[in-house]
Symmetry: C2
Subunit: 338 residues, 2 copies
């Protein structure tokens, strides 16, 4: 599979993402503590809904990035952990709203919140969690942090709306795709990194470098996520292939295939998409075309270009164990398989 | 009608709410300018949805309160007007979400946004508007303002959830009712007043007094809104009676009637509510019971108690034309008829 061939080009001493993340057990425990402490509402129902999504085994890579960039810029306090939960709350809030909007049935292996508590309470719990996150972000005495976080929430909503507007649109526009990715995914990962540097009162060049690392890593992360949607083994339990397609979302692998496939496959693809034929046979053929046309390789190369940019930008920081960890995290994002 | 008898107890030289608000034409023009300048998104669709609700003829009493409290505390700059749009954005965002949640068909005489653009885009436009408001609130160099605003968004969501949890519950608990009112309505009006004082760098006693004025005014405002839901002339075009009831919301007038009605009426009310019989005949009899049992008078008295508290709290400020205007606004909230 092209995906594997590509990812081998990135060298590291770790076998997989779980390996590298297991290095950070102490950090993840402190992050989990802070997450529990800060999200309490007066209302049990709000706690139930928010707890359902917050403690369902997400990777918590965003808080980890906040902590690592704070430390890279010379800060290592409890405040850093408190702040780090902000992006995780925003992420969870967006997932609550997304699942209502997209009708996703499962989230992190559990039924989506709206299937248990209904659309109304789930939308409102999302509103609460957004507000709680921004309130927390504004409790560190720096308006720059509150601004970075609220700007990100606006961007995330714009990204989802952009995506919504393009549903069912089969014309390929890589720039439009990248704008959606930047808004809906990269903006939050960029903010996660930036606020760590801001809390450390880092120089503006360092704040910008932190933001850029997250920005490029976030774009790569989403591109690979979209690629994985077409590389899953359809026989495997859990996530099938073509989930994005079934939601009408045209992502880079399919968009590239529409450009790169041979004439026969292209004609078939266009007519299949027009007919919205999403039978298993069709999905398997789409998967095959994406791999054999070179569209998957093109997609993964794109992701790797962004990973490269993320890593290069770390060059303004002095070499240190934390900088090396951030380099490894970037390289492993490129290799993740789910 | 008891409502009128009660409201006459409050003296003033103006005939109605429109009269007193027309005094502030200059302020409202500057508020409208600021509203236009600050809400722009990169996305036309977001602008369309937000513009639909922002420029549909709301009274903009919240921004006016921000401006008046800023001035009462000695500040009168363009910044004050810029800040004043924040609570109006939050209010509009909450209306966008509320209409999706409650299925309200019309808003300010126009079709509700979700009926034009769908639930998904409307939820996301609401998210955008919340975020835009908080971002704006964090652009004045004072974290206290950003905190007040984000705390309010959390409270508003909690208030809506509380209300949602009580839908269909016919047991009367005035404290629970007042908590919902405080969270979903008063918290934002309190914040509108408080941020004006905060921007003026007012003393903490003045900030607290501004907040308390808005808090009590907001509670009174919502109680009267709930009373108006049962006092409208059913023959009049526009808003009918019993809208809250049809949404399953038990508000103070009906709750009080369930306590105060005679035995026959009480039995009839309980069985009618249980059967969810909302025919015009039933609604007219409910209206009659609310008026004749004294429940409406009780409700209006409650509102007037809160108006009184709002006005009394202004006593810590020196007498001035602005303080007198705030007193008149409070008294007119008590008299509003729609």
């Amino acid at each position: 599979m092209v995906f594997h061939k590509e990812s081998k080009s990135i060298k590291s001493g770790f076998k997989n993402m779980a390996d590298i993340l297991s290095q950070f057990d102490i950090e993840f425990n402190r992050i989990a503590d802070a997450m529990t402490r800060h999200f309490q509402s007066h209302l049990p129902l709000v706690n139930d809904i928010c707890g359902h999504i917050l403690f369902a085994g997400g990777k918590r890579i965003r808080p980890l990035l906040t902590v690592l960039f704070g430390r890279l810029c010379g800060l290592d306090t409890q405040e850093l952990y408190d702040l780090s939960v902000t992006p995780e709350y925003l992420h969870a809030a967006s997932l609550l709203h997304d699942d209502v909007i997209d009708g996703g049935e499962f989230r992190r292996g559990k039924p989506a919140a709206y299937r248990i508590w209904g659309n109304k309470a789930t939308i409102l719990a999302g509103d609460f969690l957004y507000a709680r996150a921004i309130h927390l972000a504004s409790s560190f005495g720096r308006v720059t942090i509150a601004q970075a976080i609220s700007e990100t929430v606006a961007r995330m909503a714009e990204g989802e709306i952009l995506q919504l507007q393009r549903i069912g649109n089969t014309s390929f526009d890589e720039d439009a795709y990248l704008q959606i990715v930047e808004y809906k995914t990269a903006s939050l990962i960029a903010a996660s990194c930036k606020i760590g540097a801001l809390l450390a009162d880092a120089a503006s060049t360092q704040v910008a470098a932190a933001r850029n690392y997250g920005h490029f890593l976030g774009i790569a992360f989403q591109i690979i996520d979209d690629a994985l949607d077409y590389t899953a083994d359809p026989k495997e339990a859990g996530k099938g292939i073509g989930t994005d397609l079934s939601e009408g979302k045209l992502t880079l692998p399919l968009a590239a295939a529409l450009q790169m496939a041979n004439a026969d496959d292209k004609t078939w693809l266009i007519s299949t998409l027009a007919q919205k034929d999403l039978s298993t046979d069709s999905l398997l053929r789409i998967q095959k075309i994406i791999q054999e046309s070179g569209a998957l390789a093109y997609t993964m190369n794109k992701a790797h270009e962004f990973i490269q940019k993320a890593v290069e930008g770390l060059g303004i920081f002095e070499d240190s164990p934390i900088r090396q960890q951030l380099t490894r995290i970037a390289n492993f994002v490129a290799e993740r398989k789910r």
